[in-house]
Amino acid sequence: MGSPRLRLLVVALLGLVLALTLSLPWLKTPVLLALSNGLAVLGVIVLIRAGQVSFGHAMFACLAGYGVTFMARAWHLDALLLVALGTAGAALFGALIGVFMVRYRGIFFGMLNLAFSMVLFSMLGKFGGLTGGTDGLRFDRPTIGFVHLEREGFETALLFLALALAVLAGLAVQRYFTSVNGQALAAIKTNETRLEYLGISAKRVFWGGYVLSAAMCGLGGSLFALAQGLVTPEMGYWVRSGEVVFIAILGGAGHAVGAFIGAFVFEFVKLYAAALLTGAWQLALGLVLIVMVFVAPTGIFGLMETHLRAKAAPR
């Protein structure tokens, strides 16, 4: 899809989200959750670029969420600072865990991530004195931009912050994809051997991508924690990691925009399916994914891209 067309699409989507959220205030929470999910999906898309799928990346959102909570409870930091520190913390953990992860590919990579996430999940549940156990931890609403706001104002400010961060993160990830390291990351998917024979360390390139993906998940997790004012070990459960991969496939892993389209569709299908098919909302989500895999394996964004390309083609 050409750049002007894509920019138009992004602006239209942003306008739509803002118009709907401001006219229907109850939408703020699901939109915030969709945006924070979208950021985590952005992280997973970075890895998919290298042909790798992680089934444990919710751990970075969870780590960032708990980091935000601990800092908010201990030092009453501002929300902007909490987001920055939560993201940096997730990136740091990504850098450490990534040292082990970059040695593995395919199913081993996916499952090793899952294993790490389950260790974290268990630890959060077991060390109840520190983590609040399975009930999790709550924290008071922090200031945002050093201004103390009531719940509604805080949600609105957080929504604008999340939208701005989503746009910036999307642009940054797309920029990364076109960069030297981003292109080398994509080369891991098709030919790691050749990459080594060019004198490029595939492991180092992949490690960089892994840290970026952890940071994106951390950013999403930080916003999620601020939106909820609560963190639980469920944030890092393997089902959450699966959901993130699900959303990446649903939205399309070919472009950052796909992450957010997928996150919004997922959030609203879940919301309405939960209301209309109580106890069977997973059925609706499963059916949506089955249809997507058969009809549009490149995801919703891939489908849109193909459609718009066909329209733009000379007749």
């Binding site: 920029r175 990364y176 076109t178 960069s179 030297v180 390291n181 981003g182 292109q183 080398a184 994509a186 080369a187 998917k189 098709t190 030919n191 051997t193 050749r194 990459l195 080594e196 024979y197 060019l198 004198g199 490029i200 360390s201 960089g208 970026l212």
Partner: protein
Amino acid sequence: MTTVPRGLLSTRGLSLKFGGVVAADGIDFDLMAGERLAVVGQNGAGKTTFINICTGYIKATSGQVFFDGAEVTGQSPRAITRRGLGRSFQLPQLFTEHTVRQCLLLAASAVQRKTGLWRALDQAVDADEVDATLELLQLSGRAHDLSGSLPEGQRKLLDVAMALVLRPKLMIMDEPTSGVSSDEKHQLMEVLMRALDERKVTSIFVEHDIDIVRRYATRLAAWIAGKVAADGKPEEVLRDPIVIKNVVGE
């Protein structure tokens, strides 16, 4: 202290066993700068194994490899490549979801030591070398096509081009004409050899076609059962009864 042989590429006592199979049997070998060596031998003679050991893909059971005045035994492909040893493969190793030009830009980024998370690949890398190499290997017309969509002959050329952008001192090509029709073989070799001559790159190529060997090699080594059975000027080696019996055929 190890004495470094004076060849551009040298091996001493290079051996490798896969279980009971001897893939390399104490090979002592020297390649001088400026030579164009053809390697012939039946399948399983150990030609590719020798290349794989020299380029760091597999480790020898014993013996030493020297390249450009330094011992490179056991070093990684990345380290050996950085010393100036380029290679192509029997099955071209391409980035099939990148365009032809992007493949070369990535290679150029490696040799120019360009890394980065922000500047686009085509802006970060000085593309003069890339464009010159595309021209040299007659790939300019396919520059913006996906490398995975190329016909076999052009895939072979791109495989060499990616290594050539690294400005190697030595290029090792594993069966550069395999999978290419007999009509195209000579044309392909003409392009490859002209490119290597222009860049003043010493070369080794594994080849089964004796006509190609006669035409393009300045030296010939015949591999039999993990050993260099004959080595010298192509016409002399091709007259060797052992080579006629085991490699060329009556």
